[in-house]
């Protein structure tokens, strides 16, 4: 991963034109907020949607709406085909071996809950352990606490360093004969830390422990290859990946998914139902009870095509460059401290400012047209570990520019003046 200094040599250059051109694909970015051009730097919360995604959803409802896997009529066949094509696109995006390994869910949160309530409930008994890290989002903490209440399982937490990196030696020490699952974030939403998931998976697999990777903050920003990583589960959200809200993905190795009980009961997940006995459908349908978010899946498929057309490597390089530029630029602001200084980071700049609470920073930046997140980032245990009630967080997407970083830094300086 590139670091700040070597890149900062070109700091005077504007954002490369090929990425800047992409901005016009996003209708929402044209608007003004409080009379200022919108500078959207809250991409770790949710990303904006390119026109092609918005149009695909509209087109589906205007011309293609029907239920899937049910009708013999042409409309249902078309909807089914579009929905299953979206599944194939996701499989390709993640480099999965088989489309059947892609389960559509509402988002990364539901994906993790699904694993906790199916794999977890059948494989973790009293005293069995699930190992997470101290930098998890609440969505990778609370499902395991719920499982703990249901089965008596134990949640172990691998610590992080002051820089916001995982303590890998401690992680290795915590893997033991009672560990039944590792569930770890690929990229920290609060700090941007990229975890060494490949190494973590290898270490877990030496003990035959399966690994779930929460990729909500990774899938939109870097190439993900589930076969190369050899992770057992991978979760991500459509809405953070330039797709619609309400749709997300759980990847699971087919053999694991086959052995897991269903998540929810209902239509589509069954082969045959009588009052005495029900036969469950095969994967992935076993995990997709009820009418799915068909439009959402189609929208996500189009978002993935959009990302693939640009190239995930190009997106990652662009965001790293922006992060390096921003990291260097904020160093010039007196009283600022960057929170999360891991060697490997994705496009997240979390910071605190002497004398100004993150919420005040957020409000003042908002009046400059700049959208950032202020708060605990749904990672309260991590904030506790770092001894902070909150941080301000700017997070970059493919459409952000150096000019927007300049606007951010300028606005932070205004906050500084006001509160000093």
């Amino acid at each position: 991963m590139k670091r700040g200094n070597e890149l900062f040599a070109v700091s005077g250059d504007p954002t490369p034109p090929d990425m800047a051109r992409r901005r016009s694909d996003f209708p929402i970015l044209k608007q003004r907020v409080h009379g200022k051009p919108l500078v959207y730097l809250d991409n770790a919360s949710t990303t904006q949607k390119p026109r092609s995604v918005i149009e695909a959803i509209t087109r589906y409802y205007e011309t293609g709406n029907a239920n899937v896997h049910r009708g013999v009529h042409v409309m249902s066949e078309r909807a089914t085909q579009a929905y299953e094509e979206a599944r194939s696109k996701v499989a390709r995006f993640l480099h999965a071996r088989d489309d059947r390994e892609i389960i559509f869910v509402r988002g990364a949160t539901e994906a993790i809950n699904l694993v906790a309530q199916t794999f977890g409930r059948t494989r973790l008994g009293s005293g069995d352990e699930v190992l997470i890290t101290a930098m998890e989002h609440h969505s990778n903490i609370v499902p395991w606490q719920m499982l703990r209440e249901q089965t008596g399982a134990v949640m172990k937490v691998a610590p992080v360093t002051d820089a916001g990196e995982l303590d890998l030696a401690e992680y290795a020490r915590l893997l033991n004969r009672r560990t039944r699952l590792v569930s770890v974030t690929h990229v920290s939403n609060a700090l941007g830390t990229v975890n060494p998931v490949r190494e973590m998976i290898e270490m877990a697999h030496l003990r035959d422990i399966p690994v779930l990777v929460d990729g909500a903050q990774a899938a939109p920003h870097m190439k993900v290859d589930v076969q190369s990583l050899d992770c057992d589960f991978y979760a991500f959200s459509g809405h953070k990946t330039y797709g619609p809200t309400g749709i997300g993905v759980l990847y699971g190795k087919a053999a694991l998914l086959d052995a897991m009980p269903p998540y929810q009961g209902g239509g589509d997940m069954i082969l045959q139902v009588s009052f005495e006995k029900t036969l469950y459908n095969a994967i992935p349908y076993k995990f997709e009870a009820g009418t799915p978010d068909i439009a959402g899946a189609i929208g996500l498929g189009v978002a993935i095509e959009y990302l693939e057309e640009i190239g995930m490597d190009a997106i990652a390089a662009h965001e790293h460059e922006l992060l390096a530029y921003a990291t260097e630029a904020v160093r010039g602001v007196p009283g600022i401290r960057i929170v999360g200084t891991a060697r490997e980071k994705a496009g997240v700049l979390s910071f605190v400012l002497d004398g100004a609470h993150p919420h005040d920073i957020g409000t003042i930046l908002d009046h400059e047209g700049i959208a950032i997140r202020a708060g605990h980032h749904c990672a309260m245990p991590l904030m506790e570990r770092l001894g902070l009630p909150a941080t301000a967080r700017a997070s970059f997407g493919l459409y952000n520019t150096r000019e927007e970083v300049d606007a951010l830094v300028g606005a932070i300086k205004k906050v500084r003046e006001m509160f000093s």
Partner: protein, 149 residues
Amino acid sequence: MTTDLRDLYQEVILDHNKRPRNFRAMEDADRQADGHNPLCGDKVTVYVKMEDGILRDVSFVGSGCAISTASASLMTELLKGKTEGEARALFQGFRDMVAGPAPSVHAGLGKLKVLAGVREFPARIKCATLAWHTVKTALEHSGGTASTE
């Protein structure tokens, strides 16, 4: 800076944020309560010393944004010497000012009028009311926890 932002961050607010008044734990408090805004993590503890039905001393500790800190600081100044009934009326008056259906300013609010601008910032109203919810809890059932949710 835009006008309404200046309305929000008036000098009085910035001053009380930087140098909050009555910012101390009270050893001999008769009433106290914790307040918590789960949305942003702001925390406050409010202490009250009663004497003959009057709030003789009011203080607070905690961590929060400028709006919540200044609101708490100004509140402690205002409530000293008031009866419980007057404190309750001021709570209502303050809430109406920042979150009521129409702009209104309770005559007794004094310097707290500087927080009237908060009503233009829906995401920040709970910052302003946290200390007030907390003192209300302290008066009604001391030892309890107030939440903005």
